[in-house]
Symmetry: C2
Subunit: 368 residues, 2 copies
């Protein structure tokens, strides 16, 4: 029994990580899914893992086309699908939305598409990913609890918008309606700027002596984690959102210049106030990032426990946390060089910290 | 029985988080500890939590003085201690080292200290901290498994170097010998630059609409986590290491300018190659950050499990991981807005991934 509101069969064009994951999730929900990828091997892997059946010319016309191609070619694949399948709802999942909507609009203006054809298109952006790519890494539950932005242009058909939202919900995501320009401005700040910052910081580490890197702690690791991302994908994303990113980078450069000026003469009148202001502005911006599950930002209390690096230790600590009846709000490991122990940082509601510390200490754990 | 090589009593000047934690740790190891802080209430709290006894004029002369004052006044407190206590080894724990060594050297040059007095000084930097400050947050095990840099100037007395290293080891830290200039260059890259980047990114969020922030994921959270740091402390740190930081920021500005130029015309010849190079340089730098326990960087495989937000769930998953005999190499929670579930990301050796996925799936867990 297929989910309501999603015209079938669903043709997924592009069977990388995201396309194949959408296929797996929709099939698990009972939908009929067809797959097509210009790379026969990517398509074959996606078919093998059960993401759908191979699309062939004699297949029934798709009711929905999900374009999951690389960002660079997404616009053209969307236009092609609108032309080829006269009744299909067409949506894409690329991470930048204005440029693709503009390509569709340009096709209307130059007569390649009719306005009615373009009304079957809805842009979307599921904000999920993994550290691995390709269909082998695909999982039907990749989108669970992830935001999925839906950008319907003025004049988009209702059934196209409904199909896009139903696909997102069927896959367990949360729908965020937004216009394309707001989407692109938002991701420039919350996704593209952090990526650029992580890459700029990491780039400075290329010539760093190993003795310096041996001192690295979680501050450096956290700040640079996403610097391991795929350059080819990010070239496409950054280039497609250049205008919004540029605007933000002008602001960053202004702040950076101000900081460099103070660093050139840190004893000059006002220099220290300038540095303090920059840090305080960072505090203020950071405080606006929502907390867990979109709740207001909340300072959890952290209880840090020293654990040996052997199987079962972490689970034993958390078992005792559970016995104490305290919920784990967040969790992370802190590793340091040179010791075969780790620090397990357990975030709890501030009112429960002392109670948990006492309970774990009583069980013989080393609470830092 | 006091640890060998640490002349007693140990006088700790400055009883904030770090000073009080050192006191707690040294007392636990059997050392006699005296405390002094210009703030009577900070000193009283440190005494109350058992970090040491209050220092008074009629106390025995200290054998070791640990200066744990704010960075701005550390140099002066070190000089004062070298003058007042004619036999004491004096060390400090401020996070920037050249400026303090230079203050001591200047005191020798202007006759305030004799060369013999200055030879009793050793600069150190324990690389540990917590998200909270003040003596109430102090813990004797704060330094467990943390790097502790020891910077002995040429001509420093052996017994002073030994005392510094013994204190670090007694508190469970790993000693890194380094000269002061290398230390300052290292922390500029691995600590001060990430702090600046996190603050610059966070600063851009001050005016961001809530609808954009609702899309924030771990990428933004990780990149900005340390932006919540104390501005007053960081003003002192950045100003004291201005020369090294400036040098690094010139490089960052060059990269940023290059990126802005490409963003101004992303279709220009070479623009995309430029972006790809910047990202690839980020990849290369990031790959140099050492892995867990200082081991070579290693790409762990991640098994992601969906857990409900109720007490005991995480412990139940990790219990099953332990039963499967698989060691947890790293652990983190991934939260998304709008859903009362979390993703538990369990890092394991790549060869164990499939086995763990199968074992957890068989136990009924949703493995993404």
């Amino acid at each position: 029994m297929a989910p309501r509101g999603i015209p079938e069969p669903v043709l997924i064009r592009g069977t990388g990580l995201l396309g194949a994951s959408i296929g797996l999730g929709l099939r698990a929900a009972g939908a009929e899914v067809l797959l097509h990828d210009p790379s026969p091997s990517a398509q074959a892997v996606a078919v093998d893992i059960g993401a759908g059946h191979p699309w062939e010319e004699n297949c029934p016309q798709p009711g929905t086309v999900v374009v999951a191609s690389p960002p660079d070619v997404t616009g053209q694949v969307v236009i092609d699908a609108l032309q080829r399948f006269p009744d299909a709802v067409v949506l894409d999942i690329a991470s930048v939305k204005v440029a693709i909507a503009a390509e569709v609009q340009a096709a209307v203006e130059n007569g390649a598409l009719s306005p009615a054809q373009s009304a079957r298109y809805v842009g979307t952006h599921p904000m999920a990913g993994r550290e691995r790519s390709g269909p082998v890494a695909a999982r039907g539950q990749l989108f669970t609890a992830a935001p999925w932005v839906v950008c319907a242009a003025e004049g988009a058909e209702d059934r196209a918008v409904v199909a896009a939202e139903e696909i997102a919900r069927t896959l367990g995501a949360t729908v965020h309606r937004m216009d394309a320009a707001d989407h692109d401005a938002s991701v420039a700040l919350i996704s593209h700027l952090p990526q650029i910052a992580a890459s700029l910081v990491s780039s400075r580490l290329q010539e760093t002596p190993a003795s310096a890197l041996a001192l690295a702690g979680n501050g450096l690791r956290d700040t640079t984690r996403i610097a391991a991302s795929d350059p080819q994908l990010w070239v496409q994303i950054l280039a497609a959102n250049a205008e919004e990113i540029r605007r933000i980078l002008y602001g960053v450069r202004e702040d950076l210049d101000r900081l460099i000026t103070t660093m050139e003469d840190p004893t000059a009148p006002g220099a220290r106030l300038d540095i303090a202001q920059l840090m305080a502005e960072g505090n203020a911006g950071h405080a606006r990032i929502p907390g867990k599950h979109g709740a207001p930002p909340q300072a959890f209390a952290v209880v840090t426990v020293i654990v040996d690096d052997t199987p079962g230790q972490i689970s034993a600590v958390l078992h005792d946390v559970g016995e104490a009846g305290v919920n784990v709000e967040d969790l992370r490991m802190d590793h340091s060089a040179g010791h075969e122990v780790g620090m397990l940082e357990i975030s709890v509601l501030p009112g429960r910290r002392q109670e948990l510390t006492d309970a774990l200490t009583a069980q013989g754990w080393k609470v830092v």
